[in-house]
C-alpha cells in the first residue's frame, strides 16, 4: 500500500514538471567561443530552438564584445577571464553575432552566425 502511494506521488510530480519543464531544468549546453582581433572561433554555431546554451567567451588579446541583437543578449569579453552569456533561442533562422566594441581596422568584419533549427 505504501509503495503504491509513492508511485502515485512520483507520477504526479513528473506530470507537474511536464516535458518543457524538464527541458528547462537541464543544464545549458556550454559553447566555448574564443575571440581575437578580428575573428571568433567558431564563427558558425548551430543551435536548437528551445535549447538553453551558455556561451563561454574568452579573448586572446584585447577587450571585445559579443552581441546577438536578434535575441537581445550581449557581453563584454575581458582579457584573462571567461564571460558567460546565456541564450535560449525562441525562433529559428540564421542570426548574426558581432563584436560591438571597436577593436581596430577589421572590426567591421568581426562577426559570425548562429543557425537555429
Amino acid at each position: 500500500m505504501r509503495m503504491d502511494r509513492r508511485v502515485v506521488l512520483a507520477a504526479g510530480l513528473l506530470a507537474l514538471a511536464g516535458g518543457a519543464g524538464v527541458l528547462a531544468q537541464k543544464a545549458p549546453r556550454v559553447i566555448k567561443v574564443s575571440a581575437r582581433r578580428f575573428s571568433y572561433t567558431p564563427n558558425q554555431i548551430a543551435l536548437k530552438k528551445g535549447e538553453p546554451v551558455t556561451f563561454e567567451l574568452t579573448t586572446e588579446d584585447i577587450t571585445m564584445g559579443f552581441n546577438v541583437p536578434d535575441f537581445g543578449v550581449r557581453g563584454d569579453i575581458i582579457p584573462g577571464k571567461a564571460t558567460r552569456v546565456d541564450l535560449t533561442p525562441d525562433k529559428t533562422g540564421t542570426f548574426a553575432f558581432l563584436c560591438d566594441i571597436f577593436c581596430g581596422d577589421g572590426h567591421e568584419g568581426m562577426n559570425g552566425t548562429l543557425v537555429v533549427t
Binding site: 577587450t63 558581432l98 571597436f102 581596422d105
Partner: protein, 296 residues
C-alpha cells in the same frame, strides 16, 4: 548648377511629423526671397583619410580633395561646414594616426569657408578615447548657436563600446534645460542614435536616452554619418538623416548578409559618394537637403 537639377528633400519637425517632398528650391542660397534668418551649411562625412582599398576606391587620396574643390565651387558659400566623423581611417599606430589627421587637416585647410567644425568617428577616436582627435580638432562634444538655431554635437564614439556615457548625457540634460520647448535644435552625431541595424553595429548603445531627452522639444533634427549612405528615419517627431561618405558606399541596412563596401564601379566612378547642403528654412524649423556628388 541650375534650379531644375536641384532635388530637395524637405523635412520638418513641426507638428509632430515629417514632410518628405521633392520641390524646387525657393531657398536662401538661390536668392529667392526668404527670411533673413535662413541659412545653409554643408555636411561632409566619413572621408577615412588613410584608407587603402583599390577595389572600393582606387582614388582614395583624391576623393577628399575633389570634395573640397566641389565645396569651394559652390555658387554661394555655406555659412559653415560640418564634418560628421571618420575623418581618418583607423590605425593601431598612434604616430600614423596623427600623421593622417595632420594630412587631413592640411587638405581641408583649402576650404574657402572659414568656419569648419569637426567631430570624431570611431575610426578617429575609439582606439585612444579621442586623445589624438582632441589634439588636432579640439573637443569631441560641444554646442554652438547660429542664426537662432542651437546645434549640439554629441560624441558616441570616443567610448569604443559606442556609448554616449552618463557624464555626457548629464551635460546634454544641462544644456537642454536652458532651451525652450520650441527651440530650434540640430544634433550632430557620428553613429545613429537609434537602432538602425545593430546587427551591423549601426546603433548607439545608450542612444535612446539622448532621444528621450530630446523628445520634449518640438523642433529637433539629427544629422549623422557612419553608414556611408543616405538614410532618413523618424523617432516620433525627430528626423534623423545620415550622410554619404567620401570614400566608399555601404549597402542598405541588412540588405545582404555582410556589411561590406560596395565595389567601385568604373563605369560610374564616385557613385554613391558625396556631400550635402542643408538649408534651414522657416527660421530653422525645416531643413531642405540637397545631395551633391564628388568627382563630377
Amino acid at each position: 548648377m541650375t534650379i531644375d537639377r536641384r532635388k530637395f528633400l524637405q523635412l520638418t519637425a513641426l507638428g509632430g511629423g515629417a514632410v518628405f517632398a521633392s520641390s524646387l528650391p525657393g531657398c536662401a542660397s538661390m536668392g529667392m526671397g526668404v527670411a533673413s534668418d535662413d541659412f545653409y551649411f554643408v555636411q561632409l562625412s566619413d572621408s577615412h583619410w588613410g584608407f587603402n582599398g583599390p577595389a572600393v576606391n582606387p582614388d582614395a587620396r583624391g576623393t577628399l580633395p575633389k570634395a573640397v574643390a566641389a565645396v569651394n565651387a559652390l555658387a554661394q558659400p555655406p555659412d559653415f561646414i560640418m564634418f560628421t566623423g571618420d575623418l581618418t581611417h583607423t590605425t593601431d599606430n598612434p604616430v600614423e594616426r596623427r600623421k593622417r589627421m595632420a594630412e587631413f587637416k592640411d587638405i581641408v585647410a583649402q576650404l574657402k569657408v572659414t568656419t569648419v567644425r569637426f567631430m570624431p568617428g570611431e575610426h578617429d577616436a575609439s582606439l585612444d578615447n579621442g586623445k589624438a582627435f582632441q589634439e588636432f580638432f579640439g573637443a569631441t562634444h560641444y554646442t554652438f548657436d547660429h542664426k537662432g538655431v542651437h546645434f549640439i554635437v554629441l560624441d558616441n564614439v570616443s567610448d569604443p563600446a559606442a556609448r554616449i556615457g552618463d557624464e555626457q548625457l548629464g551635460w546634454l540634460a544641462q544644456d537642454l534645460a536652458a532651451q525652450s520647448k520650441d527651440a530650434r535644435i540640430v544634433v550632430f552625431t557620428h553613429r545613429p542614435l537609434f537602432d538602425l541595424a545593430p546587427q551591423w553595429d549601426w546603433a548607439t548603445r545608450d542612444g535612446a536616452k539622448a532621444v528621450e531627452m530630446l523628445m520634449p522639444f518640438k523642433n529637433v533634427t539629427v544629422f549623422y554619418g557612419h553608414i556611408h549612405q543616405e538614410n532618413h528615419h523618424m523617432t516620433g517627431h525627430i528626423a534623423h538623416h545620415s550622410a554619404k561618405s567620401l570614400i566608399f558606399p555601404l549597402p542598405a541596412p541588412l540588405s545582404q548578409p555582410k556589411r561590406e563596401p560596395v565595389p567601385w564601379d568604373a563605369a560610374h566612378p564616385y557613385q554613391g559618394l558625396g556631400f550635402r547642403e542643408v538649408e534651414a528654412e522657416d527660421k530653422g524649423t525645416r531643413f531642405a537637403i540637397s545631395e551633391r556628388p564628388v568627382g563630377a
